[in-house]
């Protein structure tokens, strides 16, 4: 079996989620190859090679959005090289790319994957209803099978392989898919560790009451614990905090050593993004809130009382 991975990089650093897919691809396939759109081909070839890819197709995205241009390029390359399956990260660009390939080749997609097995053809595992129900699915369509997988579904491990052989595809005619032009990138300054990488994550939800309570409760506790701070969709939608902080189905998937949910009810949308954390602490007024069904320790109480006490106690410990 030949499996391709759509490789994404942040600058010249291949994303961890890409490396996770390559590691899994090694397990289910004899041949693993990758496709990348961007200008850091050599650095990407080294990283994907070290995780099992033997070949890297490098596409010049021009001024276009990477996912859309890569999608058109992958559709064209797949016709020439016939991979059995193509894996995409469930990311912004990964979703664009898989969608373009799907419509271009008339192949269905499965997304939000969390498991993949090669026994008896590719079986794809996903979770629905906030991760409470597991579903396995298979394609009956002709290949390539198009699969998008959530970050942190697998561990990334090196294969000991050397750099992947670079195949320079150059610029592709992406037509209207390439007509959306990237004018400028804005990086929003982020304090503290990244949400996806922090060993402690403290998130706030509607129960914190108002946007001005976010900093003194959620951020303050996270900083004390040298962790990152996040949010439920409810308070992102309400405009209290930026979208970049959202943990959940539409936001980030986190898997820290400790996840502390403050005033979060635990809608399925949120649970799917954090329920695989090693340890979960929840504080919520409503004792019936679903968050308590996944919490290792739950305090039924007012975050405005419990959190300031918690902050004082931790400060007192130095």
């Amino acid at each position: 079996m030949k499996v391709w991975v759509y490789a994404e990089a942040d600058g010249d650093k291949v994303t961890t989620a890409t490396l996770e897919l390559l590691t899994k691809a090694r397990e289910v396939a004899d041949t693993v190859e990758a496709v990348y759109a961007g200008s850091a081909g050599d650095a990407v070839a080294a990283a994907v090679g070290a995780h099992g890819a033997t070949k890297l197709f490098v596409v010049d995205p021009g001024g276009g959005l990477h996912g859309h241009v890569a999608g058109r390029a992958i559709a064209q390359l797949a016709g020439e090289h016939n991979p059995d399956a193509i894996l995409f990260v469930q990311s912004y660009d990964g979703r664009d790319a898989i969608a373009r390939v799907s419509a271009r080749l008339d192949r269905p997609v499965l997304t939000n994957g969390m498991a993949l097995s090669g026994e008896g053809g590719l079986t794809f595992g996903t979770a629905i209803f906030g991760g409470m129900t597991l579903v396995d699915a298979k394609f009956s369509a002709d290949g390539p099978a198009l699969l998008a997988i959530r970050p942190k579904s697998f561990a990334a491990e090196e294969s000991g392989g050397g750099p992947a052989e670079v195949v320079n595809v150059g610029a592709v005619d992406a037509g209207t898919a390439g007509a959306a032009k990237l004018l400028e990138r804005h990086v929003e300054e982020q304090q503290g560790p990244k949400l996806e990488e922090a060993s402690v994550v403290v998130s706030g939800g509607r129960g914190i009451g108002a946007s001005e309570n976010y900093a003194p409760l959620v951020e303050e506790l996270a900083k004390l614990l040298k962790g990152a701070w996040g949010a439920s969709r409810a308070i992102v939608d309400a405009g209290w905090v930026p979208y970049a902080l959202q943990v959940g189905q539409t936001g980030k998937t986190v898997k820290p050593k400790v996840y502390i949910a403050l005033g979060i009810s635990g809608a399925t949308q949120h649970l799917v993004g954090m329920k695989n954390s090693d340890n979960i602490v929840a504080v919520n007024k409503d004792g019936e809130a679903p968050i308590f069904s996944v919490a290792d320790i739950g305090i039924v109480g007012d975050v405005h009382k419990v959190v300031p006490q918690l902050i004082e106690l931790i400060k007192a410990k130095g």
Partner: protein, 259 residues
Amino acid sequence: MNVVVCVKQIPDPAVPGALEADHTLDRSGKLILDESDSYGVEMALQLVDAAGGGEVTLVSMAPNEEVGGLRTALAMGAAKAILVSDPALGGSDALSTAKVLAKAIERAGEVDLVLAATESSDGYTGTVPAQVAELLDWPAVTFAKKVEVAGGTVKVQRQTEAGYDEVEAPTPAVVSVTAGVVEPRYPSFKGIMAAKSKPVDNVTVADLGLDASQVGWSGARQEITNVAEAPARQAGEKFEDDGTGAEKIVAFLEQLKVV
């Protein structure tokens, strides 16, 4: 300027979801407008206002002739709706859905912009907007948090992992918007009354020139091989806060050597 908004009518997310025997989502209860779509409807109304003319058309699909959610969006101010309703649509996957929506958008006539949510709240495949764009052979920009249209160009601030990108595309284009980018208006009483008489063009799959085999279960070309309950997390402890809640958390964090 004419804007089409793709909207979905979904089972109330506040009610626990269930699967039918054929593994499709149980949609037998009351269906409502997906809250994620209310942002696209609001943005479309604002864009048409800013352009000083034109109208907002809703496009939706459903296996039965459900219109409850559409009436909500019509009451917000959309002018009309195209509803593709056909028993053949049951079991449709994202690509089949995109095929149907793309055909329905073509039926809407002169369109400058198609707006959609980034994903539905019930199925959340998250690929439909870009699939629609590919089928229409249009540019697409997903995850927009700000959208402006002027002189045949749509300017978008697109969410990224690290911040946002400024992106520009010629119209017509498909743009998916994230939740929370605008404040969806509440329908006024007048709007609700007016919505009752706004036109809903009810069409079948055949009306769109699609074959029934391209949609529903046969179009999806996938099978569910197993459905199981996820292993439950080890039941944790829950305490009413009697003033010692914070101490209990500290003790727990100490055990984990986090403090």
